[in-house]
Amino acid sequence: MTTLSAPTERPVRRATRDTRQPIIGGVAAGLARHLGVPVVWVRAGFLIAAVLGGSGILFYAGLWLVLPGDSLHDREAPGLESAARQGRRPGRIRRLADSGPAIALVALGLGMVLTAEAIFGNGIVIWALVLAMLGFGLLWRQADEAQRSRWLDQSERLNPTRAVFGTGGWAAYVRVGAGFVLVVSAVALFAVRHGRVSDVYDVLISAALGVVGLGITLGPWIWRLTNDLAEERAERVRTQERADLAAHLHDSVLQTLALIQKNAADAPTVARLARSQERDLRAWLFEAPPDGGTLAGALREVVREIEDTYGVDVELVTVGDVDVDETLSPIVAAAREAATNAAKHAGSPVVDLYAEVSPDRVEVFVRDRGTGFDPHTVPADRQGVRNSILDRMTRHGGTAEIRSTPETGTEVRLQLPRQESNP
């Protein structure tokens, strides 16, 4: 048997802010993770650069603006997300990081003012600059909020008015207006102070500063806009997938309810229908999307089959996971046989199925609290135990052990060493 491995596409690595345990904004931790260096180095670097001339602060603030938080990429099962949206699960605790844009803005403003002072060496320009910064700050904040509300809005088209003014309201207009007035008065102040022709260089410099300011004002906004657009598109695709799945599930629930009504007098059938429907819903709401071909996935399939066929509960617990290849399929088959025996013969309503994947082996335990039997007296014609379990495991280099007593029921222990096939 040959294994064809398609050339796997390397996923694009994107730097994100680490929002797990941020000291300020999680920039250093995120950067360290991205570059693969200890976080202490990055933090020390920022600190040294901040002390020597303040560029560390500027750099940090800039990164804070452009790096998305890693929570943006977190995806949870729809049921969890919906519970979180409706406030039925604990949400994120508000931290310093949430006021990130404001803090970054202040740091940037201070940096700009100090830089200006260092260049021009006097205090005249500063007040004009401070006013301009305030104005741009207000405009920028407005853009940020507009973008946020548009993000939450489900309409698909991009509306320019909406992009600037958000959902409208007097506060939005006042903010945009005030920002505009402040910028204009900063320019006016500058012109009044230096109203002579000889100051044309100063005006040029101030114009250049204005352009830089505009860049700072609009840059992050445009950057975020592009990011959000991509995120939005991905979200839309996901939503559609989920809607399809939900429709499918609702349909199956309806079918099950209809069947239950028809079989209302037949308790075991009703229980079986209810159980299989419950499993479907639970898997959809609370479990990560099934990744096909893994040991846990294969065992879930076994559980589903046995629960449906024999009407017993199979409690499955898996620790670790691994892709199932031909070396591991014997243990899945043996587990299926053992669980089937337990469901068929033990007369116990619950069967426990436990699988553990360690680096060097895979173990599966199948346990019931049923009647038990003596493994040595199994008649030779009972193919199940001897052939499907014991021989199969030995043939593939593993072991199988059956412990059974009338008081405690039966436990089948399977273990199979793992080959070097895994990378």
Binding site: R20, A83, E278, R282, F286, V317
Partner: protein, 216 residues
């Protein structure tokens, strides 16, 4: 026990509250019911239950929020929390235990098992369902980062691991004790110790493991 255990049922589905109440019957004393976080906090202050059966998904911030809102003075001899949820998603299980619950069982648990779990929790023991034991093993699996802050809290002893594995395999406490040739009391001690580690460990894996797991 001189008096029946006083229990508060917190769940936002009235039908489920009624079901649990009926299932518990006279084995425990159900003193009150609550449907959201605020009601639960108020009911705890008013009735001083021994055990709070806490739904994990609850309007007002979830079951964890109820535990977070307990005043510190109450925590020492206040109610014990047993989480009861239809979700067995890892994020919910680990999150609830770390918020202070002494156990986690799913809503499909049978009546007698639930009564038994309530009794254990009221005696300050830990209650681990097989699923929770599996999560614990998963979360504490693998190598430990050298920089781990508190090594004792970040790893299970060999014995604790054995106990967890047996619980995950569906063994009851006394079967675990018999299998390992130790007393039930010792099993309970191990369980409490694991619970403490689960709550206090600073292992990165415990908070992020659930989502990282898919990347394995």
């Amino acid at each position: 026990m001189s008096h029946p255990i006083r229990v508060l049922i917190v769940d936002d589905h009235a039908m489920f509250r009624a079901g649990v109440r009926a299932e518990l019957g006279s084995a425990v004393d159900v003193v009150a019911e609550a449907a959201d976080v605020d009601e639960a906090v108020a009911a705890i202050a008013e009735h001083h239950p021994d055990v709070v059966l806490l739904d994990v998904h609850l309007p007002g911030g979830g079951g964890a929020e109820v535990m977070r809102r307990m005043p510190p003075t109450v925590v020492a001899d206040g109610p014990r929390f047993l989480a009861l949820s239809v979700s067995d998603a890892a994020e919910d299980v680990i999150g609830t235990i770390r918020a202070g619950a002494r156990g986690y069982v799913t809503k499909t648990i049978t009546g007698p098992e639930l009564v038994d779990a309530i009794r254990r929790v009221s005696e300050n023991d830990a209650v681990f369902s097989p699923r929770l034991a599996g999560f614990v093993l998963d979360a504490f699996a693998g190598t430990i980062e050298i920089s781990a802050v508190d090594e004792d809290l970040d790893r299970l002893t060999e014995r604790e691991r054995e106990v967890m594995r047996l619980i995950a395999r569906g063994y009851a406490y006394k079967e675990v004790a018999r299998e390992l040739f130790i007393s039930i009391k010792t099993v309970e001690t191990h369980m409490s110790s694991v619970l403490r580690k689960l709550q206090l460990s600073s292992r990165h894996e415990l908070t992020r493991w659930a989502s990282d797991r898919r990347l394995l």
